[in-house]
């Protein structure tokens, strides 16, 4: 059992949880994730490590309400327990001194990019962060990321805060202005990562994305999380989740993530009716 030490809503559909998990906290690195299960009947869902503290023996994850399981997760309170939390899973981000690194976070992906901003900065890079969301209320970690970045750009799709537009617009502009970018790391919704890949591709800028396929075990046992990178099948939970953006088949990923739409809808309806 894993205790929820604190829970804070960042907006009505996103919450941050600090969870007691000393073994995971000792090993956590930027870019890795955990898989959790709320209770006996629960499904296993992956969430990126947003933060961790070896001293406190805790990890922090940020979850966006996407369907039944995350909705149930968001309804849990401080002091309650999660049945299972396992990790840290996946390969850590390859953090080195590249020069100028652009960290792009979209939506809840901002919470996922935060530890990478910190790690790339600590490794001595000049870090440009670009974060964006649909609207002002969904923006998160702005102050934390600003504090760690050499430059920060903020966008909202509807223009309610920062610049109106997409994170990729800012990235394109930086490139057009002739800035020398050595690495781009992007985490966010599949369409966003796909666009980022297209923006950097013609310029040959190395670009890394963190993929979010449906997972079950997270240890390479089931093959549920398979993605195609450079025409080869890879298991995102053990070979990734980070891959070379220019090699990823994003359309396949998007199609595979729609496998259970019908069941997800049923689960949500059932939850709304009051789960037995």
């Amino acid at each position: 059992m894993f205790k929820i030490l604190s829970k804070k809503f960042l907006c009505p559909t996103v919450a941050k949880f600090e969870i007691e998990a000393p073994l995971i906290a000792r090993k956590a690195r930027a870019g890795q994730f955990v898989i959790l299960r709320i209770d006996e009947r629960g499904e296993r869902i992956p969430l990126t490590l947003n933060d961790w503290s070896e001293e406190r023996g805790t990890i922090t994850v940020v979850a966006l309400e996407a369907g039944a399981t995350t909705k149930r997760l968001l309804s849990l309170r401080e002091g309650e327990y999660l049945m299972d939390v396992v990790g840290p899973l996946g390969r850590p981000a390859e953090v080195e001194r590249y020069g100028t690194v652009v960290c792009v976070g979209g939506g809840v992906g901002i919470a996922c990019i935060y530890p990478e901003v910190r790690a790339f900065k600590a490794a001595g890079n000049y870090v440009i962060s670009i974060i964006g969301s649909r609207t002002k209320d969904l923006l998160m970690f702005e102050e934390e990321i600003r504090g760690l970045s050499d430059e920060l750009y903020v966008t909202t799709d509807d223009g309610s805060y920062g610049q109106k537009g997409f994170v990729s617009d800012v990235l394109r502009r930086l490139i057009e202005e002739g800035r020398k970018l050595d690495l781009v790391v992007a985490v966010g919704p599949v369409p966003m990562m796909k666009v980022v890949a297209e923006v950097t591709r013609p310029h040959g800028i190395k670009t890394i994305v963190s993929l979010n396929p449906i997972m079950v075990d997270g240890t390479g046992m089931c093959g549920c999380c398979r993605v195609e990178v450079g025409g080869k099948t890879r298991f995102a939970c053990v070979d990734g989740p980070e891959f070379d953006a220019h090699q990823v088949d994003f359309d396949l990923l998007a199609a595979r993530n729609r496998r259970y739409l019908e069941e997800e809808r049923r689960a949500l309806e059932r939850l709304k009716e009051g789960r037995a």
Binding site: L23, I24, K27, R37, R41, G42, E43, R44, A68, T69, M83, D84, V85, V86, G87, P88, L89, V216, D217, T219, G220, M221, C222, G223, C224, R226, E228, T233, V238, L252, A255, R256, R258, R259, Y260, E263, E264, R266, A267, R270, A276
Partner: protein, 479 residues
């Protein structure tokens, strides 16, 4: 004795096929004590043949259970002593009595079986174990602690057996398991209708009652490293199994609706997707399901598909019936349930619809040519025989490879070119104080072989902890 030979096994009632394909309950229903006594009485109590020290059945059992011994006790109704005799060699009899390929092992070697049906050793073993479980296990007295600590990685049959054997000798044992439930393939792979999970958990409780500590949700190589376990323990046993699913690498294999056997079975068994939406994990089975492969795993998938609502469930296999590696009993049950066999058929590619779902599989017919290295006749394609099979769901059940996580994160731990961890006849690896056994050293094998390996390693670990030196001339037997 010969005058009283009973040529056939006493029948074991089974759920009717029409009924059972609509539920996940166990198929065979078990026998009553009187029938079991009669079955045990069929045994001829053979003496060891010339030059052997045990009767043929015992030689056929990978863990060497005293089979005539427990059958004689059973015949007299002395069930408690009979199960105790089994447990001297086998800590998990309720499981082996159900899933052992006994037709190739103890029963396959039985003298009676030469002319008649062999003694139903598996079903007697199963009865005794169930009888004992129903009355509640007696927890054996714990030996004085030795002060030695042993880490066991993985809670499949290899790990559970090694842990039980070591605890029984007074060592402090901790099992580290990656998943949220113990049992390995016994819980995530083999379906409920063949091995009720309640039985696995009862056997796990028994192992825990010996003093073994079980730590779930720990991925060795990620949450802790093997090196750390080595530092904190006097010995380590690795029983991480063959959990990496193989794919055929043919076009379209990543289309929606195509599962690995592991995913398909894990969703259904471990995550209880057959109870969706009461349980949160979904699974999706269309009207027409094709399972690729013909081993035990494939039979389990094809039969699970029926129970999840498939109207047509096909086994697609590139060789002929004679080469199918699954247990005969399971093939027969699959057939009774309506699974159809497309033999001498090889999938070449999958064809999907515009939304990315598999719709057809293109296959080619095969014929058997010259024997290959395995002695089986090699299947060769018949040119121009391509045809398409309509499918909504495909399960790829063509085998698993050894789990690479521990070797990949442990410097100095040697593996073969197939990825199995190299070990000597006692299970010792290339690292001092580290043993391995089960599917991780042999590749996909059987429950009883994994248990045998766990047991051998435990004996070797015990000797090491009692002062026997690590060999200076280590020679792996599975190179």
């Amino acid at each position: 004795m010969t005058s009283r030979i009973v040529p056939k096994k006493y029948p074991m009632p089974e759920q009717d096929p029409k009924e059972r394909i609509r539920n996940f309950r166990e198929v065979p229903l078990g026998q009553d004590p009187e029938t079991v006594k009669l079955e045990a009485a069929r045994c001829l109590q053979c003496r060891p043949p010339k030059g052997k020290i045990v009767p043929p059945c015992v030689e056929g059992c990978p863990v060497g259970i005293d089979i005539p011994g427990f059958l004689a006790l059973t015949r007299e109704g002395r069930f408690e002593e009979a199960i105790a005799l089994i447990k001297e060699k086998n800590a998990l009899p309720a499981i082996c009595g159900r899933v052992c390929p006994y037709e190739n092992q103890c029963e396959g070697a039985c003298t009676l079986g030469k002319k008649y049906e062999p003694v139903g050793i598996g079903r007697v073993e199963r009865f005794l174990a169930d009888w004992e479980r129903a009355r509640g296990f007696r927890v054996p007295a714990r030996p004085p602690p030795t002060g030695k600590r042993v880490a066991v990685v993985g809670s499949g049959p290899a790990g559970l057996t090694a842990a039980a054997e070591l605890a029984r000798r007074g060592h402090a044992v901790t099992i580290f398991e990656a998943l949220h439930a113990p049992g390995g393939v016994l819980v995530y792979g083999i379906p409920e209708f063949r091995l009720p999970k309640e039985i696995v958990f009862a056997e796990v409780e028994y192992v825990k009652s010996l003093g073994v500590e079980l730590k779930l949700d720990v991925v060795v190589g990620k949450t802790v490293t093997l090196e750390e376990l080595r530092r904190e323990h006097d010995a380590v046993f690795i029983g991480t199994g063959a959990g990496l699913p193989n794919f055929m690498r043919i076009p379209g294999e990543n289309l929606n609706g195509i599962y690995s056997a592991n995913e398909f079975l894990t969703r259904s068994n471990l995550m209880k997707a057959y109870l969706f939406p009461e349980y949160d994990t979904p699974t999706k089975v269309g009207r027409r399901v094709a399972t690729i492969g013909a081993g035990n795993v494939a039979m389990d998938c094809a039969r699970t598909a029926l129970r999840l609502g498939a109207e047509e469930s096909y086994i697609v296999y590139r060789r002929s019936r004679a080469e199918m590696p699954a247990r005969k009993e399971e093939i027969q049950r699959a057939e009774e349930e309506g699974v159809k066999f497309l033999l001498l058929t090889l999938p070449k590619r999958y064809i999907g619809d515009e939304r990315g779902w598999v719709r057809e599989v293109e296959c080619v017919r095969m014929e058997l040519g010259e024997p290959d290295e395995s002695g089986r006749r090699r299947p060769v394609e018949i040119p121009g025989s391509e045809f398409r099979l309509q499918v909504d769901t495909v399960v790829v059940a063509i085998g698993q490879s050894p789990n690479p996580l521990v070797p990949a994160t442990t410097p100095g731990l040697k593996t073969s070119r197939w990825g199995t961890i190299l070990a000597d006849e006692e299970g010792r690896t290339s690292l001092e104080g580290v043993w391995a056994g089960g599917d991780i050293t042999t590749g996909e094998a059987t429950v009883i072989l994994a248990m045998g390996a766990g047991k051998r390693a435990a004996a070797s670990i015990h000797e090491y902890l009692s002062g026997k030196p690590w060999p200076s001339d280590w020679k792996p037997v599975n190179a």
